[in-house]
């Protein structure tokens, strides 16, 4: 029953829209120690590129909640991260995240799982993709 190559291509329902606010953008930029004026613009601040991960991570819950996969966050390591950006996230965007299982390779009790999270506005404008490789260790006794 654990995750395997059979699950490649599985797509989960989009997350509920996440409203990007200037307060959250500022909070995130300050946490990165980044004072770039684009993040603090009076008219329409944009979010730092890696802010996309905050919204993408909400979509991650789907794979840990999927009983077919037997995955647990506490046995998962974030191995790499990629962002492909169509345009920056900005104040007022309502962003939905859709997760697809892109690749699974298993060796012993370790699964290397690549997930792609497409971010788009609720109106359907594509914003970019956050792709992550996760290294997951299976629960003992499951193979």
């Amino acid at each position: 029953m654990p995750i395997s190559a059979e699950h490649v291509g599985r797509v989960y329902p989009a997350t509920k829209p996440y409203r990007v606010s200037r307060a959250k953008i500022a909070e995130f930029a300050i946490a990165l120690g980044d004072d770039n004026p684009a993040y603090f613009d009076d008219e329409c601040p944009i979010a730092p590129p890696t802010f996309a991960a905050v919204i993408a991570a909400q979509a991650w819950a789907a794979i840990f909640d999927d009983p077919d996969l037997g995955m647990a966050l506490r046995r998962t390591i974030h191995a790499d991260q990629r962002f492909d950006i169509v345009r920056p996230l900005r104040e007022g965007d309502d962003v939905v995240a859709t997760l697809t299982i892109e690749k699974v390779r298993s060796r012993g009790n370790v699964d290397m799982v690549t997930i792609g999270v497409v971010l788009a506005t609720a109106a359907g404008e594509e914003l970019g993709t956050a792709t992550s490789q996760l290294i997951h260790t299976r629960e003992e006794g499951v193979s």
Binding site: G33, A53, H78, D80, Q81, R87
Partner: protein, 140 residues
């Protein structure tokens, strides 16, 4: 705020180096801002249970903060079109007032079709913390 003349960007240009200094409060602040409340980012006890020396900063903090080497250089962060990193080594952050430092270096590895590819290196105590890190920026 364009920090450089984009038309002059060429392969092998070095970007100004960046030092990222951080202390425990910075790690707590990133937990809140990112909503990533994994206890390895605030509890030495939990971090040690999984073999870490103690609390480590979020890999996503290192990824996000290191990108400043590119955005400070290019000026407008909206020019960043892609960014990749591999998380190679964790960055432990001691529970003291001194904290720790991550060194970031970067150079232009190629320029083609109005896009510059920037190779980024981030090290902590001489160990690589980000692997194969690269960002692309639109120059036109």
């Amino acid at each position: 705020m364009t920090a450089i003349d984009l038309a002059q960007v060429a392969k092998d240009d070095q970007l100004p180096t960046l030092e990222l200094h951080l202390t425990r409060p910075d790690v707590v602040r990133y937990s809140g801002a990112s909503t990533d409340f994994n206890p390895i980012h605030y509890s030495d006890r939990v971090a040690k249970q999984i073999g870490l020396p103690g609390v480590v900063v979020h890999g996503m903090w290192t990824m996000g903060a290191a990108l400043r080497i590119v955005t400070d250089w290019v000026g407008d962060p909206a020019r960043v079109s892609s960014y990749f990193v591999r998380f190679v080594n964790p960055v432990p952050v001691p529970d003291d007032d001194l904290g720790t430092t991550v060194q970031v270096e970067a150079r232009v590895s190629s320029v083609a079709d109005g896009v510059a590819t920037i190779a980024i290196e981030a090290t902590h105590d001489g160990d690589k913390v980000l692997g194969a890190a690269k960002a692309t920026v639109r120059l036109d």
